[in-house]
């Protein structure tokens, strides 16, 4: 299941158990799930917000490449892949094909 993440045409969607919300203490985003949570940095937040089931993995990388012009597309693609793999490993993603 996790290998689906590497597929550039997959359309990941956050699992229904995930709540993505602003941390009122820091202004950053938190990704909450049962009894656990992740504090997201800026890029992770961008990726998580793209996980709606509409964006493909390739779309996300392209979107980030436009925002972070100083970072190489290869690094961006790797960053997207790594973060999605981490979410999938925790069972926090589902896929629309």
């Amino acid at each position: 299941m996790i290998t689906c993440v590497t597929n550039a045409t997959a359309r990941p969607q956050l699992s229904p158990k995930v709540r993505l919300r602003v941390d009122r203490r820091t202004g950053r985003y938190l990704l909450l799930y049962p009894e656990r949570g992740l504090e997201l940095n800026e890029t992770a937040t961008e990726i998580a917000r793209c996980c709606t089931g509409e964006w493909t993995v390739a779309d996300m990388a392209q979107h980030l490449a436009r925002v972070y012009v100083d970072v190489s597309p290869v690094d961006i693609a790797r960053g997207v892949h790594d973060f999605l793999t981490a979410l999938a490993g925790r069972g926090l993603l589902q896929y629309m094909q």
Partner: protein, 367 residues
């Protein structure tokens, strides 16, 4: 105050009452003698104060939180505050309709405890007939599309069932399986001779769990929670004293862990009298084991002190008599012989049946 001490999770122990009598219960041994439970209005205020302090996760636990008939109101308030709310339950007593109300009011997740995959063993360990109802409750959770954690406390009598427990988690489509080795405090310390598995049992279970974790990754998160009696180093208890968690117990004491009030000489405050933020930042009990000035040797000069914070304060006290001592579970602790002797005892007792001593039955009427 810096982010070093920010509570992310409030553990709301709504009651010590429980229809079950598990021999490893983490409630205090003398819980029957505690005072009145705090009322609905106080809990709602505590949730608001916790949210303002930075809490984002709320665990409803106990005893059995379902015995509070105001649980609906508490779940609703958690939802209004955008707290991610988790119901930690035995599943007894519950109806499908009540669980559906919880979901509609904003409950985010449910953790159901299972004692064994074998009905008679399960009912014996729980001290009450409840196995079939627990399976039904897990199916309700999934049919209402709530995330399900299946929790199993492992000990000598059920650790041989890990493969079957994993199969059960798969059959009920759990999102997470917590295989939690008993922590030997409270009733579990009292019943340790009957509960502690052998190293062989533990390693066998760990291997099966690791295989399942890899096989099920992305579907079921399989967690095998450390058995500190068989580790080289102690657990990072509560992620450090007063760092990430606040426990509020049924009578309103705000605590760094659910047994901190059993440590002598420490002063803890009650949410009936004092604002939660004031307690968190300024109470002597919460500050007692923060930072590293209090650390004794060998922790004082050990590089691992920023990883495990010296281990569990309650375990240190209950085994050595000193709450500031290095957790004896650490192989570097001068009192580690206590743990070794318990392990030796377990290996000699392997295969024999030892009876559990149960906590007394408690009234289940609403206080």
């Amino acid at each position: 105050m810096s982010n070093e001490y920010r509570p992310y999770t409030l553990i709301a122990e709504l009651t010590y009452r429980c229809p079950l009598r598990c021999p490893y219960c983490s409630n205090p041994l003398d819980s029957a003698r505690y005072g009145d439970e705090i009322d609905t209005v106080t809990w709602l205020r505590v949730f608001q104060e916790a949210e303002a302090l930075g809490v984002v996760q709320l665990n409803f636990t106990g005893g059995e939180p379902l015995l509070r008939d105001d649980l609906e109101l508490l779940i609703e308030e958690a939802g209004k505050l955008e707290l991610y709310s988790n119901l930690i339950t035995s599943g007894i007593p519950l109806t499908y309709e009540r669980l559906d109300r919880f979901r509609a009011l904003g409950l985010n997740g449910v953790q159901v405890s299972i004692q064994s995959t074998r009905p008679t063993n399960s009912d014996r360990i729980a001290g009450a007939p409840c196995f079939h109802r627990k399976l039904e409750v897990m199916r309700w959770v999934k049919s209402l599309e709530l995330p399900l954690t299946m929790n199993v406390v492992l000990h000598r009598d059920n650790i041989g069932e890990v493969a079957e427990l994993i199969a059960l988690a798969e059959s009920v489509a759990a999102d997470r399986l917590e295989l939690a080795n008993t922590q030997y405090l409270g009733w579990a310390l009292h019943n340790r001779a009957a509960l502690l598995p052998t190293r062989e049992q533990l390693e066998h279970a760990r291997t099966i769990a690791a295989d399942a974790r890899a096989r099920l990754q992305g579907e079921i998160e399989v967690l095998f929670v450390t058995a500190d009696y068989y580790s080289l180093y102690p657990k990072s208890c509560m992620d450090g004293w007063g760092r990430r968690f606040i426990v509020v117990n049924p009578e309103g004491l705000a605590l760094p862990c659910h047994l901190a009030q059993t440590l002598p000489g420490l002063r803890f405050d009650n949410v009936r009298q004092r604002h939660l933020a004031d307690i968190w930042h300024h109470s002597s009990g919460f500050n007692q084991f923060r930072g590293d000035d209090w650390l004794q040797d060998p922790c004082r000069t050990c590089d691992r002190r920023i990883i495990d914070f010296g281990g569990c304060r309650c375990q240190a006290f209950h085994l050595t008599g000193s709450a500031g001592a290095t957790d004896p579970a650490c192989s570097l602790s001068p009192a580690h012989g206590h743990i070794e002797s318990a392990r030796n005892h377990a290996s000699h007792a392997a295969g024999t049946t030892v009876l559990f001593e149960y906590r007394a039955g408690r009234k289940c009427a609403q206080a």
